[in-house]
């Protein structure tokens, strides 16, 4: 699905990621490691949000380094759904819950039941808790029909109970998921854990 070969990311003299090669398998893959180890950077590169300084990222065996920004956007639109760290960043705050799902491409509101958000269709985003927002964000990611869900520290801003609910959601995702996190509970749920060391 997603494959990285010798990927490196440099910010001027700083080498954030060095010579990283990996393949995202079906199930839940977790990139773990301390702050500054390059988890989020690698995640951005693998989700085509950022171009690597070196190496190649393949999406369904398509090499992406030669693609234009427009082609990258098109590929990302079809294949990848991204969930950011801050729950509110994953939703359009002036739309209702139902409108957010529709905006993400959901044909109906059936997902709300699965996400434990039944009855909240007409709620504003501000009326949801952080955990509910993050679950709705995963719902939106699924609604887009992406081949893989990429999430950056999805539980870091949630309380324990909300984080548990998000972990349940993550574990039940029907598509491969790539998550950057240093949450040990998430690591324990992972089908594959890729530890990154601080450079």
């Amino acid at each position: 699905m997603i494959r990285a070969c010798g990927v490196g990311v440099n910010y001027g003299p700083v080498r954030a990621v060095t010579d990283m090669s990996l393949t995202i398998a079906p199930g839940l893959t977790v990139l773990s490691g301390p702050s500054g180890s390059g988890k989020s950077t690698l995640l951005r590169v693998l989700s085509l949000v950022e171009r690597p300084s070196e190496g190649e990222v393949f999406i369904r065996d398509v090499a992406t380094s030669a693609l234009s920004w427009a082609e990258l956007r098109s590929l990302r639109r079809k294949e990848i759904a991204v969930v950011f760290q801050n729950p509110a960043d994953n939703l359009i705050t002036h739309l209702t819950v139902a409108e957010n799902l529709h905006a993400a491409g959901a044909p109906d509101l059936a997902l709300l039941d699965q996400l434990g958000l039944d009855g909240s269709a007409t709620w504003r985003i501000g009326a949801l808790s952080g955990g509910q927002q993050q679950r709705l964000a995963f719902g939106c990611a699924l609604a887009r029909g992406a081949s893989v869900v990429v999430a950056d520290e999805p539980t870091s801003q949630l309380d324990v109970r909300s984080a548990d609910l998000v972990l349940e959601t993550l574990a039940s995702l029907p598509v491969p998921a790539l998550v950057a996190s240093h949450d040990p509970r998430l690591v324990s749920l992972a089908d594959l854990c890729i530890p990154l060391a601080a450079s």
Binding site: V49, R73, D89, N90, T93, H94, L95, E99, A104
Partner: protein
Amino acid sequence: MQLPWRAAPRAALSSPLTLLVSIATTLLLGFVVAAAVLHSSSAGSAALAYQQDRMCPHTVHPSLVGKEDLPLSSAVSMSSKSPLSAVYTRIGRPDFNGLATYGRFGYRPEALAHLTVLQGGGTGLWVPQTIATAAHVRVGDRLTGSPLVVSAIYADLAHPVSGWWCSESQTVVPNPLGGDGASTSVIWVSQVSDLALLPSAFSSRASVSLRFPVEPPSTLAEAEALRDKGNALLTSLRLPLTRVDGLSSAIAAARTSERNVSSALLPLVIISVLVGLAGVGTVTVQWAQRRHSELRLLWVRGASPLSLGLRGVLELGLPLVAGGLLGLLAARLLLPLYGPGVVLASGTLWVALGFVLAVVLASLLVTVLVAGWRVHRTFQRRARSWRPALVPWELVVGLLAVLAWVRLSHNGLGPALKSGDLPRIDVAALTFPLLVVLAAALLGVRLLRWSLVWSHRVRWWKVPAAQLALRRLAAAAGPVTGVLLVGVLAVGTIAVGSSVAGAQQSALDSKSGVFVGANSTVQVSQDIALGRVALPSSLQGNTTLVGLSTGALIVDPATFTDAAVVDDASSVRSLLSGLHRTGEIAPALRIGRAADKEIQIAGLPLLKPVAALPSFPKLGTRGYVLSRESVPAAEQVGSWHLWSSLPLSSLTSSLQAAGISYTNVADRARVLDGLPFLTVEWTFGFVAAIGFVLAVVAAVALLLAIEVRRRQNAVSGALSTRMGMRPSVLWSSHLLEVGTLASLALAIGAVASFVSTGFAVPRLDPAPWLNPAPVLPNLVPLLGSMVLCGVLVVVVAAWLALRGVRTARMGELLR
């Protein structure tokens, strides 16, 4: 269209501040563009109105005249072709009682209703008092060789005549100082057919004038239509008369004035529009910052920068369009406040609407492009280290100001300005003072920014209000310097516009004063100089007798400064009082460039300059002035004039009441064509209007900046007061903070503008061949009103800041 785009207009409501700023931005943009269009159009109409005001009402429509070359019967026949014609016989010697005097007969419909009857009335001959007196004519006397009988004696017409007589004044107002038979008052017949009954001596060399009274046109288009229609009518009459078309030259002058004002405004408007569009761009950047999460989300979901730019325009578009239209509305409603006139050519509002829509479209385009560029730059490309703040903009602008000054000092208002030309305001003339203001503003901003950085070392805790004010200023260096920049530009632009416009008004007045010599003048006979006729008491203390010979002015030192237009009356009086003749040589004042040597002028004694003045009323910058007592023979002086500080109508009515004849009247208020001055004044009036717009921007920006940090102010203020700070100290600190900013803006703007206009104003002279050159008007009222407005804004801003403290709740403090 996907839901986030469809819902964008609704999303605008989630941020009323952005909504307000967007509306305000295009409101100002629309106002400037619409105001420029309306200002130019009203300048054309105002110029036409000014020109028409200087014309006789009956000569607005093209007319036909024939002077003393027609048989009387032909003149009578031709006169039937117009609704308001006049027929005059040649000047002859009509005989009533065997005592003939010079006179001419005339007929004009309703003329008798516009005369002042002294005796009699009704139908018959109406004889002017001068002829009645000279020939001992009485009511009831019969004209020899004619059945016509005198039915009334009327008061002679004299300058200045009413509008009804204006077009005929050359014929109907006699010159009492002219030779016998050169001119005379008119003996009016009550009906045109009576002219056929006159003695045969009056049947040739008749004059006729065919006038076509109309309502004066209010716009140039109406005037052009009237001119074309009028000329077509005159052509269709096929009469062998001379065409008089004053309207064409008035239209040409008004068109030129309108074109010159428009072309002068164009660069200013272009700069304003570019600045306004930059403002729209800034609003869009702020919008993109506020919507950063949503834009990132949509971009990650595959939206392109361009489509996200469209998302921006869908949210901001409606306020931008509304703002533009409100700007047009404001420009129309405020036209009486900033425009030269209120009359607009038909279709002007549509033209203004077109321009407003164009800039609104440009604003929408800027929004799309800036939002798209921002998305691209933020998400698709790392930011480059472009630092516009490092460019020494003040030096660049200062250099441009120097270049503008070089051009202005060589060219003035434009190359080869001649008498009768309307000035084309050179771009250098317009931009020099504004560039100086801009350079000063940028320099002020740079110094303030450095000072605020350095201010972190300052410890003024002995004066807590000052320390707090300084810290707040330093903490908001960006908004503070922005407000200072706009504030300085506002103050400077208002001062430049008002100063130059005011200088033109005073220059026209001063030049007219020097040209005429006094508020009003009339030529009188030498009898007054010889003491045969005394001036009426109503003219004592305000009128003086002045003799005029080639290159010399003969004045009465005791009364001259009572009437003449002089800058420093006491010093002129002192110099004149020293002109006592001793022997054959008459002491004289040498004026300007006149030769500094003894000189002989015909009819005057040998003149010896004993003192000098750079300029003098009537003489300008060349000539000599001597005392009346130095002139032995008043008959030898070229002409004698009465100069008065009274309006012309008061002077002439006093003379008429005293029975003193006069001619060659001059009125300071009308002697010079003021259109060249008005053209410059109107142009810089618009500069002042833009300054007022900037002032509104500065005030609103200041108030918004304070409102934006309301919570921060409230928290810090409430905490400070709970820790023991007196409310008066807090109030003082806010007053100091905002007051410092306002004072800086006022001081920098005022100094820069007054210095630059001080240099520029003398060179913005529409009539450089007339003294004196324009000078800066009294700036105290302008400065005073700006200080007053500044104080008002400061108090409101401080109140706004403190309101947050007063209404702050503990919950808000703890949050």
